[in-house]
């Protein structure tokens, strides 16, 4: 009787049915390593996770303590404009918000990227082709005003959204060098300038 159950257990183990969580984690890492290759600017090292990316790769968000630790660490990455000027040209900002290009293996350089804002957010009163993964930002400046606090928070959110929500879907535009400081200033104006179509009908 005992023998039979041991044999059954061994068979199950050998077939992988009873593989422990650690075993499958090891297999997963090996699978990812052999399944991807560098293509142009999309280099293979992109597959290796940052610590917070790993924490945010489960069905559920990590515990609150872990989230707070990630947010504190990410907050330190934010660099505010050295010249103290946060607002660029909203017209340039609108173009950046519309463009979803950049950083794929069909892009020639890792520079000149768009912000891809419309993929996920409603912004201008005039643009109807907006995504809904993120909240609507229509009337962003009209609703919130442009106090120092709001300006600084908005900059931080664009620069590194993970500082405010550890597992946010939003990319770290500044920290991951997706957008330049100047591009982010233009986006700030698009969001906050009273003349921008985000705030003006």
């Amino acid at each position: 009787m005992k023998k039979i159950s041991i044999i059954a257990a061994l068979m199950a183990v050998s077939s992988g049915a009873l593989a422990s969580a650690e075993d499958i984690r090891g297999e997963f890492v090996a699978m990812m390593d052999r399944s991807f290759k560098t293509n142009g600017i999309a280099e293979k090292h992109r597959m290796y996770q940052l610590d917070f990316q790993k924490e945010c790769s489960a069905e559920k968000d990590p515990p609150k303590k872990v989230m707070q630790a990630i947010e504190a660490a990410q907050l330190k990455t934010i660099r505010y404009p050295a010249d103290g000027k946060y607002l660029g040209d909203w017209k340039e900002g609108e173009k950046i918000a519309i463009s979803g290009r950049g950083l794929t293996w069909t892009d020639k350089t890792r520079f000149n990227n768009g912000g891809g804002c419309y993929n996920c957010h409603q912004l201008s009163h005039k643009e109807i082709a907006y995504g809904t993964i993120g909240p609507s930002l229509q009337d962003y400046g009209k609703v919130r005003g442009n106090s120092d606090e709001i300006v600084k928070y908005t900059w931080g959110k664009i620069y590194n959204a993970k500082a405010y929500n550890a597992c946010s879907n939003m990319p770290r535009n500044g920290d991951a060098e997706i957008l330049t400081e100047q591009q982010m200033k233009h986006l700030m104006a698009f969001l906050l300038d009273p003349e921008s179509p985000v705030n003006k009908k």
Binding site: S15, I24, R25, E27, M32, A42, T106, N119
Partner: protein
């Protein structure tokens, strides 16, 4: 002719759904019927994939490769030469290769063993060029032979269970300069990118809407895309490195999606914007 095909599609589905009968499946049945109605409307003017499928049928029967053989004896899981219903049951575990394979990697096995064509000819080709163009045509032919059937993935083999777990981990895996995972776009109901609706691939209905309507003809690019092509472009937009054609991550994800979609309608080849 087209009318007849649609009738067969609908009749097959109604017969299959009618056999279930319990109230638990009523909701799914309604959403399946809505999906079929949408599909019927879309292909009312014809699906250009029919032309690709016609080429694929020719290629299936054509003697090619160093061994000068056709693919007519290819075993897609239901026995040598059986095409009807084969893709509705893929991916599956194959004893002869000891691997879980999707339609495309299984076809590579048949091309190698029957025709002597090196899988590298497919793996190293560009999309819709050379042996990958041949592959796309074969896929279009084969998936047409499962149209109107139900997704029926056999999850009993432990190898399938393991691939499912690996695929699930891949689905939630965040990486790259934008920190994206599959779940960034496909992990919530009722979301869209720009005006494009996104299926929630964690649910049976969402996974069926996605898995069950690919491979597909894309009107915007005028191209027929296989599932490998579809997954490849998802990763491109995630800004990861490129998944190798037929690699295990593509198989694992396919098992995760197909198993989640199990029981949903197969409406292939699909027709996309």
């Amino acid at each position: 002719m087209r009318q007849n095909k649609l009738f067969v599609l609908l009749a097959t589905f109604v017969a299959a759904a009618g056999g279930l009968g319990s109230t638990a499946v009523l909701a799914d049945k309604a959403s399946d019927e809505a999906a079929i109605a949408r599909y019927r409307e879309m292909i009312a003017d014809g699906n250009p994939a029919e032309l690709v499928a016609g080429q694929g049928e020719e290629l299936w029967k054509t003697k090619r490769g160093p061994k000068n053989a056709s693919l007519e004896q290819c075993d897609l899981g239901l026995g040598p030469g059986v095409v009807n219903g084969a893709s509705a049951r893929l991916p599956r575990y194959f004893k002869d290769t000891g691997r879980v394979q999707d339609l495309e990697t299984r076809l590579m096995t048949c091309m190698e063993t029957l025709q002597g064509i090196d899988p590298k000819a497919v793996i190293d080709a560009k999309w819709l060029k050379g042996e990958r163009e041949t592959m796309a045509a074969l896929v279009a032919y084969i998936v047409t032979q499962s149209n109107g059937q139900k997704i029926a993935i056999d999850m009993k083999p432990p190898q399938m269970k393991k691939m499912y777990e690996l695929g699930k981990m891949a689905f939630y895996y965040r990486s790259g300069p934008m920190d994206f995972a599959c779940t960034t776009c496909h992990g919530e109901a009722g979301k869209r990118i720009r005006l494009q609706d996104l299926p929630d691939l964690r649910t049976q209905a969402g996974a069926a809407a996605g898995w069950g309507t690919w491979p597909a003809y894309r009107v915007s690019s005028g191209e027929f895309w296989t599932m490998q092509h579809r997954l490849n472009d998802c990763y491109r937009q995630q800004r990861t490195a490129e998944p190798i054609y037929g690699s295990d991550v593509t198989i694992a994800l396919s098992v995760f999606l197909a198993a989640t979609a199990n029981g949903g309608p197969v409406l292939t080849p699909g027709l996309k914007r």
